[in-house]
């Protein structure tokens, strides 16, 4: 874990060096945007999605208060110039996911060159996929113009292979949670996944994750496992969680349970593989559009993924997290409860909160009462 801190510091230098060497940096806000396009253009892709409470007050000078904290945090980091990764970015790629984000991007474009992908509202292969496929062409042109590099099929295939390996390494790390007792706490897995996301050198990130998996399989971290291993096994579903917005994970684990699985876009929703046999542009369009986020209507993929994960991670309970004012996850919570509680007969707990710490004790009593029920 100390190693992670060093790597994070080294990483900032790596990005500066990459920029000095003429490589572009491309900032991403959402899992729907294929980072392969940036990698294929020899650019550095960086995740920019805001996970900290600090810049929210500044964002509220422009954005309404009753907006999701993730959007406010993302925007706040941008306008206060307090996020090095935003500063490094030459162009921002967004998607028309939820209402809040797409309107926020309109304002964000005043601060930084921004391109917003027109994401369809469902995943229908006849109507939505062709639209999304044409967006991929526009997206490719934008990246080529920005970086001055022609994205050949060969380059794109190589980028897909590299990113498949990275996602494979992420999945292997997250799959450690299938072991009972879990060898790592949810907080530990979250921290590794979060910090690796910013790494300019993808190979470094992959080998680091492979190293952690190998160490765990060789019996390292066992003392930790004893500490966290006696608790109830919790699957966290819903909105994305990162460092700074992980208070729910912390409270769950402080209360003696362990978060063994993250069914969200900062977790297992990233555990997909792009089909390397297909035409690369078609394969990217198909796989990314199938991301099971609540912005899709219907969003059947999430229910399938949840069922699969509940079984494979042998979980005792499911906690569904919604950021305040995230309507799509908040409404979908009703159906998640139906699926998990009524169909699978596992109690669920739905929590709605923001990034502020002010409701910590209220969350604690809900979480502890829920754990008493399991």
């Amino acid at each position: 874990m100390n190693m992670l801190q060093q790597i994070a510091e080294q990483n900032l230098l790596d990005i500066e060096q990459a920029k000095a060497a003429g490589r572009s940096v491309i900032g991403f806000y959402c899992l729907y945007s294929p980072t392969e396009m940036a990698v294929a253009a020899d650019a550095v892709p960086l995740p920019l999605c805001g996970t900290r409470n600090t810049p929210i007050a500044a964002a509220e000078e422009i954005l309404p208060r009753n907006l999701c904290p993730l959007i406010k945090s993302s925007f706040g980091f941008a306008i206060t110039d307090t996020c090095p990764f935003f500063r490094f970015s030459d162009i921002i790629i967004g998607d028309t996911t939820c209402d809040g984000k797409k309107k926020m991007f309109e304002l964000l474009s005043r601060y930084k060159s921004t391109h917003v992908l027109q994401l369809p509202q469902n995943q229908d292969p006849e109507t939505a996929l062709p639209l999304w496929r044409s967006e991929m062409d526009r997206y490719k042109t934008i990246i080529e113009e920005k970086t001055g590099i022609h994205i050949s099929e060969e380059r794109l295939r190589a980028a897909i292979q590299l990113m498949n390996r990275e996602r494979g390494a992420r999945k292997a790390l997250m799959d450690l949670g299938k072991i009972d007792p879990a060898p790592l706490s949810g907080s530990q897995v979250l921290e590794i996944l979060f910090k690796i996301g910013f790494m300019a050198d993808k190979e470094k990130g992959i080998s680091l994750m492979e190293e952690v998996v190998a160490q765990v399989k060789n019996g390292a971290f066992r003392s930790d496992a004893a500490a966290v291993g006696n608790g109830k096994r919790i699957l966290l579903t819903g909105v994305p969680v990162g460092l700074g917005s992980d208070k729910v994970v912390k409270i769950i684990e402080q209360s003696g349970a362990v978060v063994v699985a993250l069914e969200n876009c900062s977790g297992y929703k990233q555990a997909f593989i792009i089909d390397e046999a297909k035409d690369p542009m078609d394969a990217l369009a198909e796989q990314y559009l199938s991301t099971p986020c609540s912005v899709m209507s219907p969003n059947t993929g999430r229910f399938d993924l949840l069922k699969e994960m509940i079984r494979e991670f042998s979980v005792d309970g499911v906690i569904d997290l919604t950021w305040q004012a995230c309507h799509t996850y908040n409404i979908e919570a009703f159906r998640i409860n139906e699926l998990v509680q009524e169909t699978l007969n596992i109690p669920t707990l739905h929590l709605e909160t923001d990034y502020a710490e002010s409701d910590t004790e209220q969350l604690r009593v809900r979480i502890q009462a829920y754990l008493e029920m399991l």
Binding site: P347, S358, D359, E361, Q362, V365, A369, E372, M373
Partner: protein
């Protein structure tokens, strides 16, 4: 001497201490104001009684656990156990305390099935009623009785304590009857509480606990709104502490 087990419920407004004997019968019950130093107030209470084991609940339970090295249980489970001690077959509990409210449904076995709690503000809690009573110049003890004396209630749309207070102030300025405003406030709190109960439980008797259950207007409106039987223990504020004491007794 027979063994004794204590439960302490450290709430935002009051602290209750209940001691039961090894048959589960209440032998002592005490109450004090929480004040600004809850641990000192709790310490005074526990030093005035003798027991073999104690369990803490309420919002102050974690601080108590650290200060006195004891076991803790959430208010949810404590109220479930305590309510069943008074009414053995009941499967729904509504607790409205000083700063939070909760609706709990139980399995036949008494285990917690589902629960709902209010948001982080004091909307619809004892604190809300207390501030509104003060704004209207009523004593909190008689607030419910005064409300019941009005024939009709005035509609109050705000549930936020701050907004509701200014709404009430403007109704007073319009010369409206204090009792009618009071009745309207009770109705709006009950509508919110009824929604919470309906989300966790749809049929059967409801045990109503917490300080707000002492209010006759709240009891009557709750029963009328839900069309269900509302049962109130003799001292509804003791239920959490009793539940904790009974749990302390169950530990081998």
């Amino acid at each position: 001497m027979r063994k004794r087990f204590a439960g302490i419920d450290i709430g935002s407004r009051t602290i209750e201490l209940v001691v039961v004997d090894d048959s589960g019968k209440i032998v002592i019950s005490l109450q004090t104001d929480t004040g600004f130093d809850p641990m000192a107030a709790a310490k005074n209470l526990i030093h005035s009684v003798e027991y073999d084991r104690i369990m803490a609940t309420g919002y102050g339970r974690n601080l108590f656990e650290i200060s006195f090295d004891t076991l803790t249980v959430t208010e949810i489970k404590a109220h479930a156990i305590g309510a069943r001690a008074f009414f053995p077959d009941v499967q729904a509990v509504l607790d409205i305390g000083g700063q939070d409210s909760k609706a709990i449904s139980l399995f036949e076995s008494g285990k917690v099935k589902k629960f709902e709690m209010n948001d982080r503000c004091a909307a619809g809690t004892g604190k809300f009623l207390e501030i509104m009573a003060k704004t209207l110049g009523f004593d909190i003890e008689t607030f419910g009785r005064e409300a019941l004396l009005a024939e009709n209630g005035l509609a109050i749309s705000s549930m936020c304590t701050v907004f509701a207070e200014s709404e009430v102030t403007s109704l007073i300025a319009k010369g409206k009857s204090r009792r009618e405003i009071a009745r309207g406030l009770h109705t709006s709190v009950i509508q919110r509480a009824a929604g919470m109960i309906n989300r966790v439980s749809s049929v059967g008797d409801i045990v109503f606990t917490g300080g707000v259950a002492k209010n006759p207007c709240m009891r009557r409106f709750l029963a009328e709104t839900l069309g269900r039987n509302v049962l109130v223990p003799e001292d509804p504020q003791l239920v959490g502490a009793l539940g904790a004491a009974l749990l302390a007794r169950e530990i081998p």
